[in-house]
């Protein structure tokens, strides 16, 4: 058992997958450290993507399988679809999820639909690794989450791990999965740590996790929001309020059972999602609860999300944009007192 950062855990899962299955390849910009040419031996792995997550892979597995691309996401995402259909298990990097729009067609109309519309003979075992999230002072075009864009599309699976344990286990599964998976890594979580067994088994997609047991209220937290939920729960605990925190981890498919069970127990729910509110995961989860658990609900399902604005750069504004422990605490108190 070792303490690992999310970043290390992801690198571990990649290395393991590369070792176990020669059909696993990786494509993305600057993953090889750019000058992957022989005359620059040693500097090849200088980058490993902007967060260094894939460092070491180029040296270990070579440029044939660890493939530096041009800034041509429609091109290489489409190529991943074709490679996946014909036998490889490509992992492709969307450097920031904010760039989703330049290759959304490849995911929405090709990766997601070929199996269905061509009669079920094909499968597209590809993984899109992408970086999401605000709080990095990275401005409007490098800070979005956009979970719901992908979750809306039938045929895609959407995974968003919170800690290193889940990151490793879920990435192993995602790579082994026969469907296209969008694997969303939060930039503000990369350096967070937890214990990760070396021989961690793949964690099945579609299974949520109760991060904290509780009895008074259910907090359904999306990815980084678990941090604030746990924070809030601590404060609330001292006030005698017991929060149950659920991290669905996978958003398509969603572990509805786990959520519903908790709600049936507590009757009060908050969904916390860092995304913009409209048609978000928060909307989705909230609407499912109110449809399926109405008789158990003691109050309307509350959503805590970012406002309906782009992500602002300046720290006071960005901090205001991101849901906070404080907002969670206030909302819980409101609900408990209602």
């Amino acid at each position: 058992m070792a303490i690992k950062t999310v970043k290390e855990a992801i690198n571990d899962a990649l290395v393991k997958s590369f070792e176990e299955d020669k059909n696993v390849i990786l494509m993305g910009e600057d993953i090889a450290g750019g000058k992957g040419r022989e005359q620059y031996q040693g500097t090849q792995d200088a980058w490993g993507g902007p967060f260094g997550v894939t460092q070491g892979l180029f040296t270990k597995f070579g440029g044939e399988r660890v493939r530096d691309t041009t800034i041509a996401e429609a091109g290489f995402f489409g190529a991943a679809v074709g490679a996946a259909m014909t036998g490889l298990r490509p992992i492709v990097e969307l450097m920031y999820v904010d760039f989703a729009g330049v290759c959304f067609d490849q995911m929405m109309n090709q990766a997601a639909k070929v199996r269905y519309m061509f009669g079920g003979k094909q499968k597209v075992p590809m993984v899109v690794r992408t970086v999401v999230g605000a709080g990095f002072r990275a401005g409007s075009e490098h800070s979005q989450t956009l979970y719901s864009l992908y979750a809306h599309i039938p045929g895609l699976k959407v995974v968003a791990p919170y800690d290193a344990y889940d990151a490793k286990g879920l990435l192993l599964s995602s790579i082994q999965d026969d469907d296209p998976v969008i694997f969303m890594e939060h930039k503000r979580l990369y350096m967070t740590t937890c214990e990760v067994p070396d021989d961690l088994k793949p964690i099945p997609l579609g299974k949520g996790r109760i991060r904290k047991k509780g009895t008074d209220i259910s907090i359904i937290a999306v990815q980084r929001m678990n941090l604030f939920a746990e924070d809030a729960a601590k404060t609330l605990e001292s006030e005698g309020i017991s929060c149950e925190i659920i991290d669905p981890r996978t958003y398509s498919p969603l572990d509805e059972e786990l959520i519903f069970e908790s709600v049936k127990k507590t009757g009060k729910v908050i969904v916390v999602d860092e995304s913009n509110p409209k048609c978000s995961l928060a909307s989705e989860i909230s609407s499912l609860i109110s449809e399926k658990c109405f008789p158990y609900l003691k109050a309307g399902v509350k959503k805590i999300t970012a406002p309906h604005t782009p992500v602002p750069f300046s720290p006071p504004m960005e901090d205001f944009y991101i849901p906070s422990s404080k907002k969670i605490i206030e909302t819980v108190r409101e609900l408990i007192n209602a």
Partner: protein, 325 residues
């Protein structure tokens, strides 16, 4: 060029099959016996057949919404193709795809994509897979003259050349992208000049002459594999069909159509038959066989069972809790 008899017969058979098939489609479109969009490829037969004659049976291709000819030439089952167009459960995509998405993975069809220029990147991926796995299948993407303006085509072309991936970019320059004449949107003298941006090898050919298409493609495959490079092929022909069935085609001037008829690929193939020592009688026999098969296929399709409504829920994923649909 020498072509063995069996292949010759295959070529003629496919040419006739496609033409008869599409003529029949025009008819059922008119009498509205099948719903939805129907894009026929009358005028493209020589390209479909010539290229497929040069490819091996299990090579990879992608097609577009204008895919009947490619599917037929790729030896997809004619009954299943037709049944698909009729939306029946025995259709090649179980009725889920329809005319625009006819595709059979078992025959090397990666897909018929409704999005212009969606195919080239996907085929690039298949070609990359062959390269990485040291496979020997060729990969070829069919697309139209309209697709060359699209970013996805450019990105795929750039990467293919960069990665030295053996594959064919096959552009059917049929004079129109929907209602827009090709030359009205071309910045270069020749369409295939577009490849200069990538230093990509390209060849042009007469898309109405099945033997020319076959020869050019065959050579291109050899060159592409040998030198590990992608190659762009431009075949010029004419879109006798409208963009889709029902299109008034008002924008296609009469004289233009009349002129194009002189180079009808079926007519040219018939004229060339004697060069290949096929006599009129043989040709006629082949044509009759083709027609009979087409008739059979439509008779078959028309009597096939509909899918069950709930079949709509199947095969979205390989693994997914189905109650979530």
């Amino acid at each position: 060029m020498q072509i063995e008899k069996e292949k010759l017969i295959w070529i003629y058979k496919k040419l006739f099959t496609i033409r008869h098939f599409e003529e029949r489609i025009k008819k059922i479109a008119k009498d509205k016996s099948v719903p939805g969009y129907l894009h026929t490829c009358i005028g493209s037969e020589a390209i479909c057949v010539g290229v497929m004659a040069a490819l091996e049976k299990d090579d990879w291709i992608s097609s577009t919404y204008r895919n009947h000819g490619h599917a037929i030439a790729k030896d997809c089952n004619l009954n299943e193709i037709t049944s698909e167009i009729y939306g029946r459960s025995t259709g090649i995509c179980k009725g889920r795809g329809g005319s625009m998405h006819i595709s059979d993975f078992d025959r090397g069809m990666l897909g018929s994509f409704g999005i212009v220029a969606a195919g080239p990147p996907v085929v690039l991926g298949a070609a990359l897979q062959e390269k990485i796995n040291k496979g020997s299948k060729m990969s070829a993407s069919f697309f139209g003259d309209g697709a060359i303006h699209n970013g996805a085509f450019h990105e795929a072309a750039g990467l293919a050349q960069l990665w030295k991936v053996p594959m064919l970019f096959i552009c059917e320059n049929n004079g129109y992208a929907e209602a827009t004449a090709t030359d009205w949107h071309l910045n270069t003298k020749e369409l295939s000049d577009i490849t200069r941006a990538y230093n990509m090898k390209s060849y042009q050919g007469d898309g109405n002459n099945v033997f020319e298409v076959y020869e050019i493609t065959k050579n291109a495959i050899l060159e592409s594999k040998k030198n590990e490079i992608p190659i762009f092929l431009e075949f010029k022909n004419y879109r006798f069909s409208g963009q889709y069935e029902g299109d008034t085609q008002l924008y296609q001037p009469k004289e233009e159509v009349e002129n194009a008829k002189k180079n009808d690929p079926i007519k040219i193939a018939k004229e060339n038959a004697s060069k290949y020592e096929l006599d009129i009688m043989e040709i006629e026999t082949i044509q009759n066989e083709a027609l009979a098969e087409v008739n059979n296929a439509f008779a078959y399709a028309d009597t096939q069972p509909w899918p069950k409504p709930e079949d709509a829920l199947e095969e979205v994923y390989v693994n997914y809790p189905s109650e979530y649909n």
